[in-house]
Symmetry: D2
Subunit: 457 residues, 4 copies
């Protein structure tokens, strides 16, 4: 079957032009005027853009005997509903667990995916086995390795392990990622706050201020520089971290920064809400920051010192959040956002004049595809590319509400924000998965996307 | 007639892939495998890239009763010989001269062009007439206005005039450009040096140190910010200017910087040559800088804080340079470079690992096209684009020599540099103009390219 | 007669220690324990500090046919009442007026001074006469020259004039000062705002944003660097200007910055007051800035990148402010502060822990004395120094109120601020001029203090 | 007995003036003109300055079963010979050793000292015992604690330990110091170089590039900021570390940086000497850097972002250096400098115009005394201060030669440098210890100087 998206304006990271897009067998086969196909999608008044790619999700992530509530079924459904057509999740081996064994566990979760997906592999311990298995992981198309500089006693690796792993990445042509917060300092500050009786969710933010993130970012950059490898910093939330990235880039280093949509639009005052549930639902790491940090992140997207907007989607229900009712350190870290990333960024970024439409496509899709060596299979409207497409209606608007969202959790951190700019159609490899509010996703349609190492870009 | 470029690897600013390119009526009509056409160009082992665009040339520029020696005939011939398929020249009205009258004079010179061209209009004085004519100039497709902050008593405008003009640019959706050096300080320092008997070419460099350029860049940025208009800084040569640009960009401002190929590879020691002719031939403004400044410029290209590599091609013969034999201030400012820009940048940038091939295309062509709103008509290998294409042979090499160059002047500032990476074919709107060392350019083939204001990118 | 200050703690820029201070003939003649004298001042519980020096006042300054309301009588009385024992005023020649003639006019005003004073000479135009007279001015003990980069059409000098004057300062061993705002841009923005009907006092702030100050500061620094002369930037009010100063200092340049007490504690929201009089009374240049700029200024005092806290005391009554009732550009620029500088800085700086007591002395007195080559005659508690001393009672407090101030104007921009830390005694060259709320100043006691050029520090 | 230094020019950190200095019982008892005493020292043509304080020495430091060769006898003799009248050495407990026990060992070495001395205590491990003993150490007058971020497996502490110790310093009002290099990265790079057969002294420099120092400096600053304590960074050798310090200071943090005289004047090319002994003698950590780093350090001294010049005097003979003949990692780290610091800094700093004489005093003596809370007992020429004085003859000159030095080692890294500016007399608490080339030091004259915590400055 052929599908044609007609009468829209194609918007890519570098161009805006009138054109129809013809799709067959899940691929874009023709771009031009007056195309015909069996199925016709009317894009009049709409922008036809590469579907969003979210490089940072945690679906069905194990946590204290339970799991983050959105799995590959609800998570990818939420993604598609919001115009995102691919997610990259994190495979997290336990300490001393084989990377390959962990990968097998993660693969098992993905059968329900309705959009394409890939993985980053976490390096949570170090040894000869890890060193060896990294090559096998790369062979399987997973070419990016995550390192946690925080979560002491759990996922955290020290500088010695990180430097070893970064050097291994350099050999394999893989890309290291870091969660950058100084875990030693966070752990002590957490204990001090608890000892002083500060056990509420607002203390979570006090336990990990911007300085702690800036330091770790700076350190990871140095280690990457010594290892001779590029670096991708996840969830860059503050000026201190951004400054470290800018400083490195000004020396010609290849360092990438990823603000989250949450940090761009929500600020620390959220934690001052006296409703424990309200504040606890916003607990994530890094925590929300103040307005000056938000300005810094927006400027980074404008100038190119930050390249990507993600969600770190890791959804816990209020019930799950309440694990930490007496101790903020036990509140599961994470918020949702998969469905909201594109509409909120469009509303707060494009509608306000901060970003051009082309920049919107770049930071939600194309830059990610380039950095992860998925481009132009993903992130582009070109012949031969996967037909992961969002037909964007800049006039559609809604107020974000938990009770109409795809995510299974019972709240939404963007609750009440009015967005203008929403998908009319969302296609996953040609399959029409979303038609405005109608969900037509197909469980199991999503496939793993293997990536090549030694990214030339 | 159709032409097919076969068996090459297409390299654009964002992709590298195998593909043939088919051309008809001067446009790219098909990209794919196994294409056929009447004329076949074998690109085996080569990269098929958008032709270079040089945004900064001065062909047949009037000077002290004579003209810069390369005109639109030899200049565009040199451009094509080096893989550059479009030049943007500067129309320079005399003080109190009508912009439109000046434009008519400049148009008269272009009949001999063998590649496409456009103009920047200089604002060299201010008044209601200029204010009015700027709109007419934009209507004629010239949407960028140059401002000289140096050359006191000649082209220079003061802050008041510059701010007025920048605000007018904002109204018209035009892009202001600046030559950024503090003309008052340069003029006094020049006089002091001459008074002290320092009249040789090396004193030219002393008269305009990096601080003078950095200050003016910083000032122009502030004025653009106040006027609410982007800014393009020509010939950014030093860390001080680059720092001002980075600082502005870090605040989210839209400021562009253009290093010249000369400043990237030649340094201030050139002026210490005891042969007057040797040193005088290198006299240009800004002058060559030291190695630290070069490192800064390369890092800027790598990180994206500088976007464009140009030449400021303004060729004077040794005879013309000797106007200043007793007074460096009378040495005509300018060097050549049109034929050498791409091979030298490839050799010193790509072959050394500083830049990827895609970045090479970006800074020599695509970024320029985007900034000047020529994209994707120019600067792209996409359907419908002008077939301005260079087929680049990464194995071809030569030693740069004045006696085999296209430029009419009698020396070359890159003399003796061995370059590896040269054009096999160069096409101007489909016309094969260069086949390795054979020049097939056609006088008059080049056309003026009108540009639209209100660049969305 | 001898006077002894007994039982206090001496606090200087570099030490804190117990000690009595003995004074004779206006000089400090002994420092030690258990000193005796004819007059005894009990300093129990107090800090004995060098009297404040305000390097920036405009007493009886001519303006539009009238004068700023505080003259050398009320101005120096206010100074002493607040612990300041010396002021440095500005001699402002009219365009084309002889510097010496202007100096004679200013000298005439000073007969009523009750504390010592000096002058900065303004260079408001340029010519051979100015060049010559600058030497004579230096011979008379005035070794600092002020340059206005704003106030176009009145006091402003252009870059050419400024560079000439700075070079002359270098020859004479004098110190150039700048009022740093881009006057061309301010003038146009003022006109635009007025044209758009924005004629209220809040528009004053819009007409001269921080960018305009940062640019001019950066420019003055470059010009000083080219002239080979240090630079003193008056009323540094914002991060942009401070950043330019920091950047220069980081290269080893000798650049000084002077925040005003107003900019440290008052912010731009003052202009949003709907009472025209309220807002107009706060009109000064540069205008008040936001909290981020205040943080920057405080950090500068802490780190030493800013050295001096001044007032720019230039007092106009509400009546005088109303000259600009229909046009903010006609509101006389200036606020008071002479009496309040020390108590407010102590309260907001020392009591909050931002500054040590020694740093307080440094920025209100000692640093100024050093920069202006008055040290250790002024700004020190050492043998032989002038007995310009404040005995500071850290427990005394009051609420600032216009109706109990020394200044003749009818309001106070610090109205309502509660200060803790006030003078118990203030001595001007040994003369007890203030005893808590009792004013014993003596008209005519204040003398001109000549300064030497070629400051070694 | 009374001693008078007559006819000299007194130079302190903030003043230069004519004056005689009278000394009794080791203290300054009078400053003035025409003073008389039993012993008269003629200072005609000389500057009378506070004696140098070297805050960073390692005398008789244990190392691999032997000791650094200069002990408190030869070390303090060398100090005095070069105008330095006090040294601060490091007490280095072994892992798990009691701080107090280590202190007893170090005390034992000091009986031979001929000038005053103090200690910094190193925190080389962490535990409740250390936590407790730190209070006792402070009570004994040692109020600064050193932390090694490098020397993995030996002295190094990790972030967790460092943060604990810094918080303890905050409680005690003590000052933390850091040796800032990332020990994990240095260790791995060292192993890699050795594995690759790079075992010569030049590889020492490759194993610890500036990035590694900059990172650790930045990290220590963050940890100090979180602990709410000032920070002193020893041997700041590069722009990266200096930048981190500047950035922190620009936020108002109290961070101090200490360049060594070696890093100010010697550069990395020293390691390229093909004579193994020559290069190995220069092995120290951090290693010498290039000219750009030197420029940064000098600018820091000029602007005040760096405060102190030290030596890290740790003298090993050539014989000792040869422990590492097959393995650069076994070359004992350290160079001499105690005798040379003042003459070299005067020659390269004051004679070149980079520093004023007052700044020279500040960075060699007064600033150190202030930071270590020794001021004004040390570092000042004021009544009551210890008579630690150098009478500096700016005309005396010599060429530095190992064979005429006080240090017991057989070479000098400054060999061959001609210095102009040398002591005529050096007094330790009034005792004339040096008269030009004549050494009159007295073994055992030097005493321990206790310091108070909670430094107010
Ligand atoms: Zn994370
Ligand atoms: Zn995450
Ligand atoms: Zn130019
Ligand atoms: Zn040009
Ligand atoms: Zn002013
Ligand atoms: Zn003023
Ligand atoms: Zn060390
Ligand atoms: Zn050491």
């Amino acid at each position: 079957m052929t599908t044609v998206i007609k009468n829209g304006t194609i918007v890519t990271a570098d161009m805006t032009y009138e054109g129809d897009v013809k799709i067959a067998h899940g691929k874009i086969v023709e771009i031009g005027r007056h195309l015909e196909g069996e199925e016709v999608l009317d894009a009049t008044g709409c922008y036809v853009m590469p579907g969003g790619i979210d490089p940072h999700t945690h679906l069905e992530m194990p946590f204290m005997g339970t799991y983050s509530s959105d799995d590959f079924e609800s998570g990818t459904r939420a993604a598609l509903a919001g115009g995102t057509t691919m997610v990259v999740d994190f495979c997290l081996p336990s300490p001393n667990q084989s990377l390959l064994e962990a990968l097998a566990m993660w693969d098992n979760k993905t059968g329900k995916a309705s959009c394409d997906f890939s993985f980053h592999m976490a390096v949570t311990w170090w040894g000869e086995q890890v060193w060896k298995e990294m090559a096998e992981v790369v062979d399987r198309g997973i070419t990016s390795f995550k390192h946690f500089m925080a979560y002491k006693g759990a996922l955290m690796v020290d500088d010695d392990e990180m430097f070893s792993s970064f050097q291994r990445c350099a050999e394999l042509g893989a890309l290291p990622l870091v969660h950058a917060e100084n875990g030693d300092v966070v752990a002590q500050m957490t204990q001090k706050l608890l000892d002083a009786g500060n056990n509420g969710p607002e203390a979570h933010a006090y336990s990990r201020p911007p300085e702690v993130e800036g330091e770790a970012t700076n350190r990871a950059i140095m280690i990457a520089d010594m290892a001779g490898v590029p670096l991708y910093v996840v969830h860059t939330s503050c000026e201190q971290a951004h400054e470290a990235i800018r400083r490195a880039r000004a020396k010609g280093m290849r360092v990438y920064g990823e603000p989250l949509i949450q940090h761009l639009v929500l600020d620390e005052t959220e934690y001052f809400n006296t409703d424990w549930d309200y504040a606890a639902r916003r607990v994530m790491s890094p925590p929300f920051r103040n307005k000056q940090h938000q300005d810094s992140l927006w400027a980074g997207l404008q100038s190119g010192s930050l390249q990507v907007v993600a969600t770190d989607h890791c959804a816990f229900t209020t019930q799950q959040k309440r694990f930490g009712v007496d101790n903020f350190a036990k509140i599961p870290n994470g918020t949702g956002g998969l469905e909201d990333r594109l509409p909120v960024l469009w509303t707060k970024g494009v509608n306000t004049g901060r970003l051009t439409m082309n920049e919107f496509v770049a930071v939600t899709s194309t830059n990610i595809a380039k950095i992860l060596n998925l481009y132009p299979r993903k992130g582009a409207i070109v012949l031969g590319a996967d037909a992961d497409i969002v037909v964007w209606d800049p006039k559609r608007s809604k107020t974000i509400k938990a009770d109409s969202q795809q995510s299974v959790i019972d709240y939404n951190v963007f609750e009440g924000i009015e967005v203008t700019g929403l998908p009319r159609f969302v296609l996953s490899r040609g399959k029409v998965s979303i038609v405005e509010n109608e969900v037509r996703t197909e469980v199991g349609h999503g496939k793993f996307v293997a990536r090549e190492p030694r990214n030339p870009v």
